[in-house]
C-alpha cells in the first residue's frame, strides 16, 4: 500500500501553484504538512482527490504503483483516498444517515444492495466510538452545523468509509479547544497500521493533539524541509521565514 507523489506540477487557471512536489504517504504513519497561508496545501489535497478545477501539468500520483491522475474523483475515493475538507459543502435535505448510506452503497458491486441493518449497526458503533449522539444522523449534511460539528462529521465519514489514505485539510480551523480535542481524539482512535494519515495545517496547535511521526514544510509549491515532530515546534517558535533562506541555500 503506497501513495507516491512525484514531481507534481499543478495550476489553477493560469496560475502555477505546485511546482515539482515530491511526497510519499506511508501506511500506519501520521504525517504532517505545514506551510504558510497560500503555499498550496489545500491545492495539494484537492489535486490528490481529483478536483476538476486544477490542472496537473507534470508529474504523477501513484496509488499502489498505479497513476491515478486519469481517474475520476469518485473512483479515487473508492480506491481508498479520503479527504476531510477544510470547508465541507452543505447538502440540503440529505440526512447524514442517507448521505453515508449512499457513500457505502457506492462501494458495493453493481446490483448489490446495502444491508440496512448492518449499516446502522456499523454506523452506531462508529458514532459511539466518536462519542456522537444518534440524533446527529437525522440532521441534513452540514446545514446549520457549527465549525466543530462540520469537522466531526468529516471524521465520522472517515470512520465509516475506512480509507487507506486520509488527508485532513486544516481540520483544526475554526475549532475551539474543546472541539479540537474531540476531533483529535477521533482521529487518534481511527489511526492504525491499515491507514496513512496526512494532517495539513498551518498552525502547530493541532499537532499537540495528533502527534505526527513526520513533519514536512510546503512552501512555494514544493516540500522544502522535512523532520520529526520537533520541527513543528521550531516553526511555531521561529515562523517560516528562516526556512525560506535555508531552502534557497539548498536549491
Amino acid at each position: 500500500m503506497s501513495l507516491i507523489i512525484k514531481d507534481l506540477h499543478a495550476s489553477i487557471g493560469e496560475r502555477q501553484i505546485l511546482k515539482g512536489l515530491n511526497f510519499e504517504m506511508k501506511p500506519g504513519k501520521v504525517q504532517a504538512i505545514m506551510g504558510p497561508n497560500g503555499s498550496g496545501k489545500s491545492t495539494l489535497s484537492k489535486v490528490i482527490a481529483g478536483h476538476p478545477d486544477y490542472t496537473v501539468t507534470a508529474g504523477e500520483i501513484l496509488l499502489n504503483g498505479e497513476n491515478i491522475l486519469e481517474m475520476e474523483p469518485d473512483a479515487r475515493a473508492r480506491a481508498g483516498i479520503f479527504m476531510a475538507f477544510q470547508y465541507p459543502s452543505e447538502i440540503p435535505g440529505v440526512t447524514i444517515a442517507n448521505f453515508l448510506r449512499a457513500a457505502v452503497q457506492a462501494r458495493l458491486p453493481e446490483g448489490e444492495l446495502i444491508d440496512a441493518v448492518e449499516f446502522y449497526e456499523t454506523l452506531y458503533a462508529k458514532m459511539d466510538m466518536l462519542e456522537m449522539k444518534r440524533e446527529f444522523t437525522t440532521r441534513f449534511v452540514n446545514e446549520g452545523f457549527s465549525g466543530g460539528e462540520k469537522k466531526r462529521n468529516e471524521i465520522l465519514q472517515m470512520a465509516m468509509l475506512e480509507p487507506k489514505f486520509a488527508i485532513l485539510d486544516e481540520t483544526d480551523s475554526g475549532l475551539d479547544i474543546d472541539a479540537l480535542r474531540i476531533v483529535s481524539q477521533g482521529v487518534n482512535k481511527l489511526k492504525g497500521p491499515h491507514m496513512g494519515v496526512l494532517v495539513i495545517t498551518h498552525y502547530q496547535r493541532l499537532l499537540n493533539y495528533i502527534v505526527p511521526d513526520e513533519v514536512h514544510v510546503l512552501m512555494n509549491g514544493r516540500i522544502v524541509q522535512s523532520g520529526g515532530k520537533e520541527l513543528a515546534l521550531e516553526l511555531e517558535a521561529k515562523g517560516y521565514d528562516w526556512i525560506k533562506e535555508d531552502s534557497l541555500v539548498a536549491a
Partner: protein, 470 residues
Amino acid sequence: MSQTATPDIDIDRSVGDFHYDTSYEFDAGVGLSSKTVDYICDVKGDPQWIRDFRQKALKIFESKPMPTHWATEDLENIIFKNIRYYLSKGQVPKRTWEEVPEDVKRTFERLGIPEAERKFLSGVEAQFDSEAAYSNIKAIVAEQGVIFVGSTEGLHKHPEIFKKWFGKVIPTTDNKFSALNSAVFSGGSFIYIPPGVKVKHPLQAYFRINAQNFGQFERTLIIADEGAEVTYMEGCTAPKFETATLHSAVVELVALKGAKIQYITVQNWSSNVFNLVTKRGLAMEDAEIKWIDCNIGSRLTMKYPGVILKGRKARGEVISIAMANSGQHQDTGAKMYHLADDTTSNIVAKSIGIGSGRSTYRGMVHIPKHLKGCKNNTECDALLINTNSRTDTYPAIQVRGNKNSVQHEASVSKVSADQIFYMQQRGMTEAQAMSLSVNGFVNDLVRQFPLEYSVELKRLIDMEMEGSVG
C-alpha cells in the same frame, strides 16, 4: 380501419422504454374529423347524449386557437392530422390477468403492476393505448359499494351519477385540450365512493402508451360522497418513439361534504410525449382535495391541477415535483379558486432543471373580495443542476379584500460543482451525487407519499440522472 401493426422499437435499459409489436382490432385511423368521433362512438356504443357531447366538443376544439400567446411555441409542433386517436384490442377490460392478451400482460408485468396490486392496492385499472385491458377491484372494497370501472362502463352502467358530474368541474370550453379530450376521450377511471366509506388502500390506474403517432385521451371522474375517503394513484409510461406522441387527459374530482380525495400521479413519459392534461377538483363544505403530482419526462408537460373550494372550510392542496432534463419543458403549477369563507389552500411546487431542461411554474390563486377567513400558502422552489437550465415563476395571486391571508415564498438554488465534488470524494459517481441532491431537495414532499411511491420516485430520479451525465 383494422389490424394495424406498429413497427419494432429497440429495447433500452430504462424501465418504461420497451415496446411489443401488437395488432389492434379497432383503429380510428390517422387524423381527426367528425367521422373519427363517430367511429369512436360506434365502437363504444355510446348513447346519443355522449355522441352529441363529443361532436360539440370537436367544434370547440377546432375553433380554439393554440394558447401560444402565453405558452410555448413548441405546441405548434403537434400535428393533429398525423395522430391516431383510437386504438384498441377491444372495449371490455378483463377481470383477471389470465384473460389479458399475452403481449399486453407482459407489458404490465414488466411495469410491476400485478405485483403491486397483490401487495398494496384495493383495485387496479391498466390501460393499454385507448382502452383498459384489465380492471379489477378487491371484493372487500366492492362490497362496500365502491364503484371502480372505466369511463365507458361508468357512463353505460351508472348514468345517474355519471351524468350529474361529467364535464361539470372542467367544462369542454375550459381550454383547447380539454375540448380535444371531450371529443375523443376513451379509457380512464370512473370511481364512486358511497357516503362514509373510507377506502383503506389506494386504487391505482396505469396508463401505457404502446403505439407510435398515437394520442391517449383518458377521462377520469372520481366522486367521493359525503364523508367518504379515497386515494387514487396513477402511473404512466411510454416507449421512446421517433415521432411525437400526445397524452391529453381530463381528470375531474368531486369531494362532497366532509369527503377527502388524494390523487397521486407519478408519470415517467418518454421524451417525445406532449403531455397536456387538465385536472381539477370540486371541494364542498369541509371537504379536502389533495393533488400530489410528480412529473418526470415528456417533451412538454402543461398541467396545473386545481381545486374549486366551493363549500365553507374546504381545503385544497397541490404538491408538485417537476423534473426537466435536457430537451424537456415542464410547465406546471396549480390553481386555487376560493369561493367560500374559511377555505384554505396550500401549494408547494418544486422544480428541478437539468442541462438545458426548462421548468416553469404557473399559479393562480383567486380569493374574491366578499370572502373572509380564507388562507393561501404558496411556495415555489427551483433547483438547477446546470447553469443552462432555465426556470420561470408566474405566481398570479389575486386576493381582494383584507379579511384573507396569503403567503408566498419562492427560491432558486443550484447544485454547485463543490457539492458534487464533495459527494464524489465520498465515492459517489457524478450521477449518484446529482440524484442525492435532487432527493434531498424533494425530501420534505416525498415523506408525505405512500412508501411504494416514494421508492418509485427515487428510482426514477436515479434513472433520469444516470441518463443526464457522460
